[in-house]
Subunit: 580 residues, 2 copies
């Protein structure tokens, strides 16, 4: 990881790659790399789909090593959805491979001179650009099927579906998983459209000939990593809840808390929540069987294994095991409680390249607007299909939740900075509301996952309905998350490291062992702060000041059942989040 691959798609005669030294970007990885490159090189007032924007891809600092659960890779750019800076990260195999190839980052820049669609092969011995317009409008699964015979299954594909090609504001970048399926997505903020705007359909990352990255201090690395893994296994969430039920373990918990947004954020509990729960999902998966039906990692070397594969009643592959946020967005939020339908929608989203959170929230808005009825499963399937094919209605939906509400003249758009809120009602869990409002990313639960402390009582206990303490909680988690997103460690390790000081220390020591450093927890905090400050500075220059760090007003006006609470954290509290 000592070099940067810079791809100029506007070079004479087609895209050109140059390798350069890290320079000022030395020591950066993941979100630290993407956000600092974007903040440094992209003019904040540019158009997200214009020539001045750049797509930065960066594996975490620990990627490609033997460190456990460190396969997250960051994608950064100016977001077509929010108009601010964006980092979206994904699991899958590519991060590890890219790191083993020695790349700390790929920076894709410039203005494509033609409408040709390119495939980029990145291997140890060569980098190759291939015009392949036969890939046009291929969904991600079809693309992988087409590339498999050419490149084999030992490469990893980073690709866009039809959504990215159509430059939709809801469009992901897909990364293939351990089964060569395009199931892991840098989902949020429309990063796929930026890749599409550069005329690149897919990157083939080939690790052939590369080796696992060697730690500087092998002893320390090995011992710390072992302790880190043991810590993950020991914690109730990372050791039991997630592996057994996947992220969907949360459905019953959030519903019980009265913070499970239903019918486009109208109510906080859903009568049919049990049908969508992780428990129901695990039962179904175990009953139906099939390879990977229970637990699976999204990349090799994961100690948590929260993923799985979802088959229909006849044993046919339907999708990866849908995440909690997906069963919520396409399920409860739309009045749908059929897990098979949710899995089908999850597959369609992965295939076309849509963020499931944004798409489900968008359909919720379309349902409230009367386009289809709440609970209409066939209708929901049709809508995602229209979006993936770019019909006029699909163009609306593909532009995201905020635009859909605008097109249908609806106030009820559950968005911040144009990005849809995930599966936690900010009135029922005020800490997450503070994160939605203030993160640089637009409404995003992962940016500062206060659910941990508000609901799961991990890392402390802050009453979800209280005003006090939420800003501080969100601030601390946002800082920690930004740092974590730089390492490539999965956010889910946070459950263990927030509760177990020794696991946190072990994680830091694993990094120290890898790089021969002597970082402390304070250094981690400093890194997090630096990242957030850079991001916020970019956003301010892009016109997203503190007035944009707000929830839509109706969350302050309309009370949420069953607790009949509004979001009442004062603006001054929200503005205090960046007091550091």
């Amino acid at each position: 990881m000592d070099k940067i691959l810079r791809i100029d798609v506007g070079a004479e005669g087609g895209p050109k790659a140059t390798t350069e030294e890290l320079g000022d970007y030395a020591g950066l990885g993941g979100r630290a790399m993407t956000s600092i490159v974007v903040a440094t090189e992209v003019p904040a007032d540019c158009h997200a789909l214009g020539p001045e924007n750049k797509l930065v891809i960066s594996p975490g600092l620990m990627a490609g090593s033997a460190a456990s659960t460190s396969g997250r890779m960051s994608f950064g750019c100016k977001s077509p959805l929010t108009g601010g800076i964006k980092e979206a990260n994904a699991g899958g195999q590519a991060g590890q491979y890219l790191a083993r190839l020695g790349y700390a980052a790929i920076i894709i820049e410039g203005e494509a001179k033609t409408d040709d669609l390119y495939l980029v092969y990145i291997g140890q011995d060569k980098i190759e650009f291939k015009v392949d317009n036969s890939l046009r409008m291929l969904p991600n699964y079809d693309l992988c099927d087409k590339l498999k015979p050419v490149y084999g299954e030992k490469v990893s594909i980073i690709s866009i579906g039809t959504a990215g090609e159509m430059k939709m504001a809801n469009s992901t970048i897909a990364v293939t998983d351990v089964e060569f399926r395009p199931t892991r997505h840098a989902g949020r903020g429309g990063v796929g459209a930026v890749m599409g705007s550069k005329g690149i359909k897919a990157l083939v990352i080939d690790p052939a000939g590369t080796k696992i990255r060697k730690p500087v201090d092998q002893e320390k690395f090995k011992a710390s990593n072992k302790e880190f893994v043991e810590g993950l296994k020991r914690h109730a969430v990372t050791g039991q809840g997630l592996p057994t039920f996947g992220t969907n373990v949360l459905t019953n918990i959030l519903n019980e808390a009265g913070a499970y947004p239903t019918y486009n954020f109208k109510e906080g509990r859903y009568k049919d929540h049990a049908d969508l729960s992780g428990e129901a999902q695990a039962n179904l998966e175990n009953e139906r069987g099939g390879p990977g039906s229970a637990t699976l990692g999204c990349h090799r070397g994961c100690a948590i294994q929260c993923s799985g594969t979802y088959y229909d009643k006849d044993g046919n592959f339907l999708s990866k095991q849908p995440e909690y946020e997906t069963t919520w967005s396409h399920g409860g939020n739309c009045g749908i409680h059929d897990l098979d339908v949710v899995a089908k929608l999850d597959f369609m989203d992965d295939n076309y390249g849509f963020d499931t959170i944004e798409m489900g929230a968008t359909i919720g808005v379309a349902m409230e607007a009367g386009v289809i009825e709440f609970g209409d499963t066939e209708g929901a399937i049709r809508l995602v299909d229209e979006a993936g094919k770019g019909t006029p209605l699909g163009r609306i939906l593909g532009a995201g939740t905020a635009v859909t509400a605008k097109c249908f003249g609806l106030e009820h758009a559950p968005v911040v900075k144009g990005q849809a809120m995930p599966a936690y009602d900010p009135r029922g869990v005020k800490g997450i509301g503070v994160t939605y409002a203030t993160t640089t990313m637009g409404a995003d639960h992962t940016a500062g996952y206060c659910i941990a402390t508000n609901i799961l009582k991990v890392g402390g206990d802050v009453d979800p309905h209280a005003v006090e303490g939420q800003a501080e909680l969100s601030r601390n988690l946002q800082i920690a998350t930004a740092a974590l997103d730089a390492t490539g460690f999965c956010l889910f390790v946070a459950f263990a490291i927030l509760d177990q000081q020794d696991t946190f220390s072990a994680m830091i020591e694993t990094i120290n062992g890898m790089y021969g450093l002597s970082m402390t927890a304070d250094d981690v905090v400093e890194l997090g702060k630096t990242i957030l400050k850079k991001e916020r500075e970019f956003n301010q220059k892009a016109g997203l000041g503190k007035e944009h760090d707000r929830l839509p007003r109706y969350f302050k006006r309309e009370a949420l059942a069953p607790h009949n609470i509004t979001f009442d954290v004062p603006d001054e509290e929200l503005d205090s989040v960046y007091n550091f």
Copy 2:
């Protein structure tokens, strides 16, 4: 004009009207009234279609009097299109009638409790609310046809078409003209949607029993008004150009200047401009004849008479005489050079309630996106029809130029603050570019019409291609315009008052005569500054800070033929506009 009519659409049992004294709003009219009420009473962070927004309707200070050319009426609210404050004014008869009824403003507020559609009758003896769902989705012309037998032609109708009912961000409020046609529109910023969100389809303003407003100083008023009218008649633009050719006198002039945006702002000259010119239009109208085919005022008492009626070759009414901005937006900007088609589109816009500038710019974007070809007249007609009927494609188009570009993944959206630029390329006329960028309204030529000085050499001479002097020019014109918009005098009087000091003095003395005041030119400037400051303060609180006072970056990057110039006024210059 000594009272305010406040309509609470959320009152128990249906909308309720109360009359109140002017209080702090005394002395305000037109834009001064609408902007100060909105800035005072509407929370800047509210949703434009939500219950906290208000629609303020206010005739100018001189409305209802014998002062010439003073029939403009202002409509203000938070804009569904820009997210900032909005004042859009219209000619037509209603302003005069409302003033004669004694209302300085109507403030429509609250949240409708049902989906019912209301008709509001406002006469001297009664105010009446009538549920009339049979009016649902009636276009403006059909609505007027339906109301004529009930109320006669001596009332004026303020109404929304289907666009406003569907709460589209491009939706106008129509005001009937001297021929009881709904041809005068408060066009920009989606004011129709705000009226629609309050559940009001139309206001019937009945002046029966009222008298013309009496000046305090009859002598001074009469003499000054006479001198003012003489000044208007004497000036080449207001006395000859506008009456003879309408606003469309500008087509040849702007094309010659290389600042006539063509093919979605791709080029600055249009080969077929002559077919669209005011000269061609006047020839056609004179040839075809019919009542009002030559010149007509948009309201009684206008000394300029820039309007007219446009008939087809068989003598059938097609539309009012289309304005320059309409022949540009639906014509040259879309590669269309058939005046009959433009007139048809103008009629459709008036009928459905679309702003012609926004709609033409939107179709230009749709053409660049490949929805239809440039020059496709049938296609353009179909698109406006889809918008008026609210098909999925129509929902995109009805949401305006910026949303259309977002839905189709296009950088080339010629907008500022989400509002489409009018018929003057900001690269070819940099003063108007400064106005587009910095006005509180989103791209708007009327907010500081630098074309006057840059091109027509009225009120001085500032080279349209120079950087120097544009910020000052725009600042001065924005201040003067804000004040003028408070009086109800038509913006077109500016040509005469900028060039002729005695005409300017006469205008001020007419106001002084009306109110028994002794205002000076300095007082007028102060009023303009106060209005702009209030508006800007609102915008800042709404999240539209100086970072939003910018043109899209491609105007700085892509040179405009034939002069091959970019927009190169530095940001610091733009930021200096509000240095007062």
